[in-house]
Symmetry: C2
Subunit: 462 residues, 2 copies
């Protein structure tokens, strides 16, 4: 059973975490470790750390657990013959899939496919989902250009690609956005622009980067400015597509429905609808990265559904709370020649079995609806905090429970974040001054109140 | 219990596989599917397919299963609280590891670390293992250049890297080899040169590519030619490092101990020792990709141990049979600032639990030794085939059971491969004319005889 409230016994992180960090430091840099955990003792919204502190977890493993800790239904799945077989007989899934593969995809990924996207492929993490989405978009772009999926036999492309040279390895690009995060392998990293520490010293593709709107809050007060900002950003994006036509044509763009790692930056439905139209006008693909925003947390299954675009994005990538990585794509994007998108594992069927059960729980327990309701309640609470702490708390924003608030003042955000942790509430940070909340789908208005009350207290303390 | 022999009931692939391919084709290209499988019914060296054909599996999910199918010891692991907790509470392992993390690494990866490589980091697949190995090597190279791990605050690198531009995103390169395979995300793919279908239409880093020796068989007959070929390849590699100093300096090279996907090409210990010396002379890192060659299959834990290099490679990457991805590295390569190599999951602790048990079984059952012995027996058998089929069977080669034979003549290899499958023996292919064998560690001389006899028959049939 889930605890009723956090309970903190030591400074957080406590002595056990500190010892384990020291031990881990012998074999690798352990600077990113926040807490060592006792997952077997954790439950639902509550994470138990190595010092037996019980923490209300509003971050949930960087937003990657849909049903919190030790969900009893998932434990059931662990004990099924199908899941255990998948665990010890991990297949090369694109070459030797298990005979339940199409049925399993049908019961899982196809059940929650974005409107109009009937094609889907599994991957193992967000980075390879995005990298392979890029590849699919390059295939599609070149196919449009030459009319057939592959060049005729004997074409110089076959030889030049082996030397990493055009025409076989064409000079094409993916347009991305300032502040974006799409992963950290070299291709994905070339579209990531959230923090220098992610990028410094790593060679990069020279690809175009457009500004992402930076809206002012409260939205009601800045309607005109915000509309102008979005119009400016749209114009620069299209200008870049035009300018790069001679240098390295843009085959597609990748964008998050909410810029997460960069600082929880939102843009309006109007912006996204217009951006989609721009891609149609320019003949480039629209890749929507739902790695962090997908799986119901925003109160809709996919965050981009909030934008009510006329046509879905051409490609939607996912990972994290979906448990498996992968991407949906339209019939138009589909390629048909084997081994073009391929790797040994192509995901992990264990995750599909866990996803199957997760979808049943989400459906049975109305968790999409709950995320919407809890989110409204939570953002209401954060707005109250703005009134209580003017000039410190600002810019409360969110879709469902996918939410954030800015804590202004040099270094104050980090102090508040730390103070909140001492009270037994674990939140995330992103950008320079933002606290972000990424609870699991079991988060209720009661948990939201607990978060807001403790945050209020933490701000007072600091 | 493992069957005694293959048993084939239908044409392979049979009607059930064909139906399932059609079903799968609705949601994605299914051209790469060889067989749908019934993993729950498979056992040890024998794969049962969706048509109930029982096949002696000498390919083992693209060389990724160490203990074959449904190993009883691994099934035990599935039922432990620790593995089940890891399965349903997948952590963000570099930020919130479980309290057993350092102990688990100690019992697994450190137990089989290559000599002198005391640092190790986990990843989720071979591609991200190699991509992050590249990043680590770039960090090391830049640190050597400036004397400190990061540039001083305010350095223009911090701003330029956010725009994908030097100096923050420096023009550096990784030297790779013709015929190499290191993965298919955009960075890894820039070092992969096995087949055009892997690369065509995908933009690539313009990085240098050196020839990998192409030895002639039998080795005894071509000693002088082969030594000259290796000397030539070494010279070109060093020339490329020199030439690229002005264009995009080589920070490191990546090489497989045996070029696998490219066609099972071997080079001598002398070649590898001299290549290592060259990297030391040039101040670049030596990354050894043991994704396919690692985990005992060659009769040593790591294939590069056969080369008796004076110093270990600077970085050794792994995945596949190791169950988890990741890489070992030297103290010198180690970086110390957090979040430089980072992603949400950083591997999957379930795989570490399975690896722990796998290592116990390998040790208990003397499977390293067995791989060596079985391999000698198998290659002996393949050499017999050469005598029986002169001009058709040629170039038997291998380390342990990691072995291959060429089947000469236009299209003959593919026919033999198919015919062998009809007899109930599943092998792999690579390069243009090669059949490769990648059995699991339970493969014994008896299995090897069965493979060789059936291959003999298949060649006769074709
Ligand atoms: S790149 Fe996604 S799992 Fe390795």
């Amino acid at each position: 059973v889930e605890p009723n409230a956090p309970s903190v016994k030591t400074e957080v992180p406590g002595p056990n975490t500190k010892n384990l960090i020291q031990e881990t430091s012998k074999i690798q840099s352990a600077q990113a470790v926040a807490l060592f955990c006792d997952f077997e003792k954790s439950q639902g919204n509550y994470l138990v750390d190595a010092d037996e502190n019980v923490l209300l977890d509003c971050f949930q493993q960087i937003s990657s657990l849909p049903l919190g800790y030790n969900h009893p239904d998932l434990l059931e799945t662990c004990n099924t013959a199908a899941a255990q077989s998948a665990m010890i007989n991990r297949p090369a899934m694109a070459m030797f899939p298990n005979r339940d593969f199409p049925a399993l995809i049908d019961k899982t990924l196809l059940k929650v496919a974005p409107r109009g996207l009937g094609q889907v492929i599994t991957m193992a993490c967000g980075s390879c989902s995005n990298e392979n989405a890029f590849k699919s978009v390059f295939f599609w772009y070149m196919k449009k250009k030459r009319g057939v999926e592959l060049p005729p036999l004997g074409d110089p492309a076959y030889e030049s690609c082996m030397r990493n040279q055009p025409p076989g390895a064409p000079k094409l690009s993916i347009l991305s956005f300032e502040g974006a995060f799409h992963g950290r392998t070299l291709g994905a990293l070339s579209t990531t622009h959230s923090k220098p520490i992610h990028k410094i010293d790593v060679p990069s593709f020279d690809w175009p980067i457009a500004p992402f709107p930076r809206l002012k809050y409260p939205l009601e007060e800045f309607e005109r400015e915000n509309a102008a900002e979005e119009a400016r950003c749209l114009e620069v994006a299209e200008d870049l597509v035009e300018q790069w036509k001679t240098k390295a044509p843009v085959a597609g763009l990748i964008i998050e429905p909410v810029q997460a790692e960069g600082g929880d930056f939102h843009a309006s439905g109007d912006y996204f609808r217009k951006l989609k139209k721009m891609t149609e006008r320019q003949g480039i693909a629209f890749i929507c990265d739902e790695v962090q925003t997908g799986m119901a947390v925003t109160g809709r299954w996919w965050a981009h559904e909030h934008f009510e675009m006329e046509k879905s994005p051409d490609v939607v990538t996912f990972a994290k709370k979906m448990l498996t990585g992968g991407y949906y794509f339209s019939d138009e994007i589909r390629w048909d020649i084997g081994y073009r998108v391929f790797n040994t594992w192509m995901g992990d069927p264990v995750k599909l079995h866990l996803l199957e059960k997760t979808l049943k729980v989400v459906n049975r327990d109305n968790l999409v609806e709950q995320a919407g309701k809890t989110g409204k309640h939570l953002i209401g609470g954060l707005k109250q905090l703005e009134k209580l702490h003017p000039g410190v708390a600002n810019g409360s924003r969110g879709l469902g429970t996918f939410s954030a608030i800015d804590i202004l003042g040099e270094g104050i955000r980090d102090k508040v974040h730390k103070q909140l942790l001492q009270k037994g509430v674990l939140a995330g940070v992103c950008g320079a001054a933002t606290m972000r909340f990424r609870p699991c789908l079991l988060f209720t208005p009661t948990h939201a109140d607990m978060l807001v009350d403790n945050l209020d207290q933490a701000i007072r303390d600091v």
